[in-house]
C-alpha cells in the first residue's frame, strides 16, 4: 500500500481533538474490548516490502526537529547553516541547572561537528542546540540530566546524544527519561562505547544505540544482531565541521551517532506517524545487512 499522505496523518491528529462526547476516544488504552478494535485501526498499512525507497527515498528531513544535546552549535558554519533554536543549561543562583538562551554558540566544537553531519544527511531538518557540555567536568552529570529532561519535555522529534555518563547515581533517572521520550515519540539516538565500565543511556532498549562502521557512506547503516549496540553507522575518517568555519577529519562513535539521528529524521519526515518502536522496525528492515527485503 502507498505511504500515507500528510493529510491522512492530520486527520488522525484531529480525531484526537474531538469533543468529549466521543467517550471511546477518551478511554485510556489499558485494555481492548473486542467491540473496540476499530479504535486502534492503523492510520495506514506498510507495504508488503518495506524498502529504503519507501522508508526514506526523496526525504530531506523537512519539518523534523533534531536536537543536538552537546557543547552548543556554531550557527552559520558552512556545514551547518541556520540553527532554529539554541539553549544552554547553566547553574542557577541556587546551584540547580536552569535553561537560558544560548548566546555563545559552541564552546568546544563537538556539537558543531555533530550538527554538520546531521545537516549533510538530512539537509532540510530543523536543527536545535541544547548545550550541556563545556562548563567542565564537575556538575556535568546534573546539567546533562536537566538538559535531557528539558529536551524530552519540549518534544523534539529526534535527540542526538553523542555522549554518555558512567555515574550510577544518574542511571535510573536517565532510564526514566529515555522511557518517557520513547512514549512521547521522541527518538533518542545515543553513542555506544566499548569501555569496560557501565555507561548510559546507550544501553537502554528505549534508545537507538550507535557504533561505527568504516565505510565512506553516510546513509549506509547496519543492524547488529548481537546487541546491546543496535546499529552501526559511518564513524571513521569523516570530514567534520570545526570551530571558526573550518573542517577536520575525525573518527569515533560520537560521529556515527549523528548519521543515525539524521537517518531517523529522514524516515520520520516521510512517515511522521511512526512510533519509536515502529521506526526501529523500519530501520531493521532497511538496514544494509538485510533485515528486510531490498538489501
Amino acid at each position: 500500500m502507498a505511504e500515507p499522505e500528510p493529510e491522512q496523518a492530520k486527520e488522525e491528529g484531529k480525531a484526537e481533538e474531538r469533543p468529549p462526547e466521543e467517550p471511546k476516544r477518551k478511554l485510556p488504552a489499558w485494555s481492548l474490548p473486542s467491540d473496540a478494535i476499530d479504535r486502534i485501526t492503523m492510520p495506514f498499512r506498510w507495504p508488503d516490502r518495506v524498502t529504503r525507497e519507501w522508508a526514506l527515498g526523496g526525504s530531506t528531513g523537512k519539518g523534523i526537529s533534531v536536537c543536538v544535546l552537546d557543547s552548543g552549535v556554531e550557527a552559520g558554519h558552512p556545514l551547518v547553516g541556520d540553527v532554529q533554536g539554541a539553549w544552554a543549561l547553566v547553574a542557577g543562583e541556587d546551584g540547580e541547572p536552569t535553561v537560558v538562551d544560548d548566546e555563545e554558540g559552541d564552546v568546544a566544537g563537538h556539537g558543531t561537528a555533530c550538527a554538520g553531519i546531521i545537516r549533510a544527511v538530512a539537509p532540510e531538518c530543523d536543527l536545535y542546540s541544547v548545550r550541556v557540555l563545556g562548563a567542565g567536568y564537575t556538575g556535568s552529570g546534573k546539567i546533562l540530566l536537566a538538559g535531557l529532561r528539558w529536551a524530552v519535555e519540549r518534544g523534539f522529534d529526534v535527540i542526538n546524544m553523542s555522549l554518555s555518563t558512567t555515574k550510577r547515581d544518574f542511571a535510573s533517572v536517565l532510564h526514566e527519561l529515555a522511557d518517557a521520550a520513547y512514549f512521547r515519540k521522541t527518538v533518542l539516538v545515543a553513542s555506544a562505547h566499548n569501555m569496560p565500565v557501565e555507561s548510559y543511556p546507550w544501553k537502554f532498549s528505549s534508545v537507538i544505540s550507535v557504533g561505527s562502521h568504516d565505510l565512506p557512506d553516510g546513509t549506509l547503516f547496519f543492524y547488529n544482531p548481537d546487541p546491546p549496540v543496535e546499529f552501526f553507522a559511518r564513524g571513521v575518517s569523516i570530514e567534520i565541521a570545526w570551530l571558526g568555519g573550518s573542517t577536520i577529519r575525525a573518527t569515533g562513535n560520537s560521529f556515527a551517532t549523528p548519521h543515525m539521528s539524521a537517518i531517523c529524521a529522514l524516515v520520520r519526515a516521510k512517515h511522521p506517524e511512526l512510533t519509536p518502536f515502529q521506526l526501529k522496525s523500519v530501520l531493521y528492515l532497511i538496514a544494509s545487512n538485510g533485515g528486510g527485503s531490498d538489501a
Binding site: Y137, S162, L243
Partner: protein, 216 residues
C-alpha cells in the same frame, strides 16, 4: 581516619608508592607510543577539586616540560573525551589555526592528529590517554580497539597512583603515631629478608605486650 585508609597507607609503604606508580604510567605511555609509532603519548589526570586536567605522564615530544601542566577540563579534545566519555580520533588539526595557536602556547608542540580515550574506573572518569601523530596515515577501527585496551591498563595505573596519594595524605593528616607506624612499615619493607624476619618477630612480641597491657 577510617581503618582501611590507615591499612592502605601502611600497606602501600607510602614512601616509594608514588614513584612506582609513576613509573608504571610512564611505561604505559612509552608502550602506547611505540605500538602506534607515534611522536608522543600522554596521560592526563582529572583533578576534580580544580576541574582541571593535569599531565601525569608524557613520552616523546614535551616529556621534559609538560608534567604537572594543567588545562581546564571542559576544553580541548581531552576535555571532549572526559565529558562525553567517548574515545575520539582527530586529524588535520593544522587546518585550524586557532587550535594550533592555543595548543602551541600551552605545550610548545602542535600535533597534526591525535587519538584520545577516557580513563574510567567504576563510575568515575579519572583522566585521558592521548596518542599524538601516529605513523599510519589512515585510521582503522582496530586501532581504536587497541587504544581502548591500553586505556584499561592506564586507568588501573592512574587509580593506583590516586590511591597512593590519598593514603599518603591520610598519613600526613593523621600525624604522630600513624606517621611513626608508616615509617616503621617502610623501614621494615626495605630491610634484607633475614633482618626483616627478626624485626617482625620483635614487633609481634611488642604488640603482644601492649595488648596484654591494655587488657589488664
Amino acid at each position: 581516619m577510617p581503618d582501611d585508609n590507615l591499612r592502605a597507607a601502611v600497606a602501600a609503604g607510602v614512601v616509594g608508592a608514588e614513584e612506582a606508580h609513576r613509573a608504571l604510567l610512564q611505561s604505559i605511555v612509552e608502550v602506547a607510543r611505540a605500538i602506534f609509532g607515534a611522536k608522543a603519548s600522554s596521560v592526563f589526570l582529572l583533578d576534580t577539586d580544580t576541574d582541571e586536567l593535569v599531565f601525569e605522564a608524557v613520552s616523546g615530544e614535551g616529556e621534559d616540560h609538560l608534567i604537572g601542566m594543567r588545562i581546564p577540563s571542559g576544553t580541548g579534545i581531552a576535555g571532549w573525551v572526559v565529558v562525553t566519555r567517548q574515545p575520539l580520533v582527530v586529524d588535520d588539526l593544522h587546518n585550524d589555526p586557532r587550535f594550533a595557536r592555543s595548543v602551541a602556547e600551552r605545550t610548545g608542540y602542535v600535533p597534526n592528529g591525535l587519538m584520545a580515550v577516557p580513563l574510567l574506573a567504576e563510575d568515575r572518569a579519572l583522566g585521558v590517554l592521548q596518542v599524538l601523530d601516529r605513523a599510519s596515515a589512515g585510521f582503522s577501527l582496530e586501532e581504536m580497539e587497541l587504544l581502548g585496551l591500553f586505556a584499561n591498563q592506564a586507568a588501573i595505573a592512574l587509580e593506583l597512583l590516586q590511591r597512593a596519594r590519598r593514603a599518603a595524605r591520610a598519613v600526613a593528616d593523621a600525624g604522630g603515631d600513624v606517621v611513626a607506624a608508616a615509617r616503621l612499615a617502610t623501614t621494615l619493607e626495605a630491610l634484607p629478608e633475614e633482618r626483616r624476619d627478626a624485626a617482625s618477630r620483635l614487633l609481634v612480641a611488642l604488640a603482644d605486650v601492649l595488648r596484654a597491657d591494655t587488657q589488664t
